[in-house]
């Protein structure tokens, strides 16, 4: 089977193009066109005024993780280690302990995610049998002054609320 060969004509061989200066002026025309347009009216900018203007995040966006809780505030996680097992970057570190409320037998006493190592693949969310970990906080920008602070623990993960309504979250991707 012979491969299909498509011959493309090489561009940039005409005389005005070879003269160079003409093309530079054409480029300047585009740049200055945008400049004058934005100077007169900046409501139709092609770029966003970040960070004053935040982007709209969809429920499918995989942002920073959080641990979900029951209505009474107790944590849903039962420390089954499915997320840690499934994590390709080994950024989840859990320690399990005895759970004394009547919901279950086990809970995490330590649940650390190293956000510097996390690749935000969402496998932990997929693996979780209890819907205890989600990436629906809408937090996509994480900046800290040192590495240690990028290690988020149990309390912080459980304290962060979700950015979407339960309905929107459940319908994501449908």
């Amino acid at each position: 089977m012979s491969a299909k060969v498509k011959v493309v004509k090489r561009k940039g061989d005409t005389l005005p193009e070879k003269l160079y200066l003409v093309e530079v002026l054409k480029g300047m025309k585009t740049s200055f066109g945008h400049f004058w347009r934005n100077l007169r009216d900046n409501s139709r900018l092609y770029v966003r005024h970040y960070p004053e203007q935040q982007p709209e995040i969809t429920p499918r966006w995989r942002g920073r993780h959080r641990l979900t809780t029951h209505e009474d505030g107790s944590i849903k996680c039962v420390a089954c280690f499915m997320c840690q097992t499934n994590c390709p970057s080994r950024c989840i570190m859990i320690e399990a302990g005895e759970r004394l409320d009547d919901r279950d037998e086990k809970l995490p006493v330590r649940f650390d995610i190293d956000l510097l190592e996390c690749i935000y693949c969402g496998y932990c969310v997929e693996a979780c049998p209890k819907d205890a970990i989600r990436m629906d906080t809408g937090i996509f920008s994480l900046v800290e002054h040192n590495r240690e602070k990028m290690l988020v623990g149990l309390d912080e993960l459980a304290a962060t609320p979700g950015a979407f309504t339960e309905d929107d979250y459940q319908k994501r991707g449908l």
Binding site: C80, G97, E105
Partner: protein
């Protein structure tokens, strides 16, 4: 070697040992017949019905494999639609009231129900009535935690307590839905082998309080080892894991099958001795009880040895043959007396007729075969004369402390120790050495079975074993072949042993 017979499994001819039941006979050639209640150590019970197999032209055509001896020319069917349906129906039956709390169950990952569900069942539950609730997290005593909901009522634990320990603490009470394994009121599990029911339990109904929630089993590396808790030398699995940013840690010991030594079981004390491998370890070198540079410690120890006229070396009866012989050669070189005094390791009346032995030393037979003097008089006499006393990992249990202190008043003590024993703090120099999970070697148990084992745990900063430490102190043996050659020079049964070809079951000397 038993007589071999030929039979057919799924139409294919296989050669198996005669005199065994179908599960064992066919299992030996790698064909699995699913079963819950049968265990080779406990015999066939035939209550779980999972091992039902078809016998072509047989009367009856359907038999429990655990109760059927393998016979010449038998045509066993495992893959017919009828048998597959039976297996699927049995699984459905077992899972009717199963809580499926695999996320919190310690058995998950090594659970027969999980494995069989994936292999023989694989369909959703058809039940739409409420599940029967039973008690969870019951403390059965002896470190056993019982969950009645997960139980498949195979009765292995009950039979273990009746047949093996003969204590009979467990029983199955009530019938049908209400049937459950329970203890008699106020009579918890009270025997020294109780934790074996955790291994025997094919599901997560019996779990160990010691291992509870410590690790998921699929993270654990399962290396083979030998328990050093007593002179029986039970074969074990050393389950260990190096968690991220942490050190390699042992989480549990499990029995490893060896008919020549321990069968299928180990005692609870040996099982829980894994803690000793992690706790109380001597990790840094000490001078007069205070942390001191390791290289400098070697220099100090060497100086103390050369300056002393009379040196006494005391070895631990737990050390393997390789390290004992290295010590022996070292002692000869420096002209020191060598003692293996360890009467304190014998706890009179502690042993039983099953596995536990009075003698808590793992390699006393080896000590004797190498011709190391274990006498008390020789030890005390030499100690009184000695100017330098090298104690190699000997805990000196139940020793006359006053006499020891008196004898050591003028003596420089050098301790090569795996653990922080009492003597370590009084020692002039203490140098850490590896413990038995961190080195390989050969030991001889109380019945004269020579067994070899390999290193299982590799610490982040590995600690040298006794052979290596002695080499650094000027010992002549530097490699494994040299050590083995030294053992072969010792007259007696060890001279002819090929240490590279010790069978897995051990070598009866």
């Amino acid at each position: 070697m038993a007589e071999m017979i030929k039979l057919f499994v799924n139409g294919e001819e296989v050669e198996v040992e005669s005199g065994k039941n179908l599960i064992d006979a066919v299992g030996a050639v790698g064909i699995e017949i699913p079963h819950f209640c049968y265990h080779p150590a406990l015999g066939a019970d035939g209550n779980c019905r999972m091992c039902l197999v078809g016998i072509e032209d047989g009367r009856p055509p359907l038999v429990p494999a655990c109760k059927t001896p393998a016979a010449e020319g038998m045509k066993v069917q495992l893959d017919t639609d009828k048998i597959k349906k039976i297996q699927r129906d049995m699984m459905e039956f077992e899972l009717i009231n199963h809580p499926i709390d695999c996320p919190v169950c310690d058995q998950a990952g090594e659970c027969t129900l999980q494995d069989y569900y994936m292999t023989y069942d694989g369909v959703s539950s058809r039940m739409n009535v409420e599940q029967v609730k039973k008690a969870k997290k019951l403390d059965f005593g002896g470190g056993v935690v019982h969950d009645q909901e997960r139980c498949v009522l195979c009765g292995r634990c009950v039979r273990f307590c009746r047949q093996i320990t003969k204590t009979g603490e467990l029983g199955i009470v009530n019938r049908t839905d209400s049937a459950r394994v329970d203890i008699f009121p106020g009579r918890p599990l009270n025997n020294r082998y109780a934790l074996n029911v955790v291994d025997l339990c094919p599901v997560g109904a019996m779990t160990s309080a010691d291992f509870r929630f410590k690790q998921r089993v699929w993270f654990l590396k399962k290396d083979e080892g030998i328990c050093h808790g007593c002179s029986k030398g039970c074969n074990i699995f050393i389950d260990h894991n190096r968690e991220k940013y942490k050190d390699d840690t042992i989480y549990r010991f499990r029995p490893r099958h060896n008919d020549q030594v321990n069968g299928y079981f180990i005692c609870d004390e040996g099982r829980l001795s894994h803690k000793k491998e992690n706790e109380g370890r001597l990790l840094e070198s000490l001078k007069n009880g205070k942390p001191y540079n390791l290289t400098e410690s070697y220099v100090l120890a060497q100086k103390a040895i050369t300056n002393a006229e009379n040196v006494l070396i005391l070895v631990s009866p737990n050390l393997p043959l390789e390290q004992l012989v290295a010590t022996q050669v070292f002692a000869q070189k420096i002209g020191a007396s060598l003692s293996g005094y360890s009467d304190g390791y014998i706890v009179k009346g502690d042993g039983d007729d099953f596995l536990i032995q009075d003698d808590k030393a793992a390699n006393r037979k080896g000590l004797e075969l190498l011709g190391i003097n274990t006498g008390g008089d020789f030890f005390w006499d030499s100690l009184e004369k000695a100017e330098c006393f090298i104690c190699i990992d000997n805990e000196l249990p139940a020793v006359d402390t006053k006499r020891l202190i008196k004898a050591l008043r003028e003596t420089k003590v050098i301790a090569l120790s795996s653990h922080h024993f009492n003597l370590v703090d009084q020692a002039f120099v203490a140098i850490p050495v590896a413990s038995f999970s961190e080195y390989g070697g050969s030991i001889i148990n109380c019945d004269g079975v020579l067994q070899s084992f390999q290193a299982a745990v590799v610490k982040n900063t590995p600690i040298a074993d006794v052979t290596e430490v002695l080499r650094r102190l000027g010992g002549p043996l530097s490699s494994a072949p040299e050590v083995l050659a030294a053992i072969h020079r010792v007259e007696g049964p060890l001279a002819k042993v090929d240490f590279n070809r010790i069978p897995a079951e051990g070598l009866k000397l």
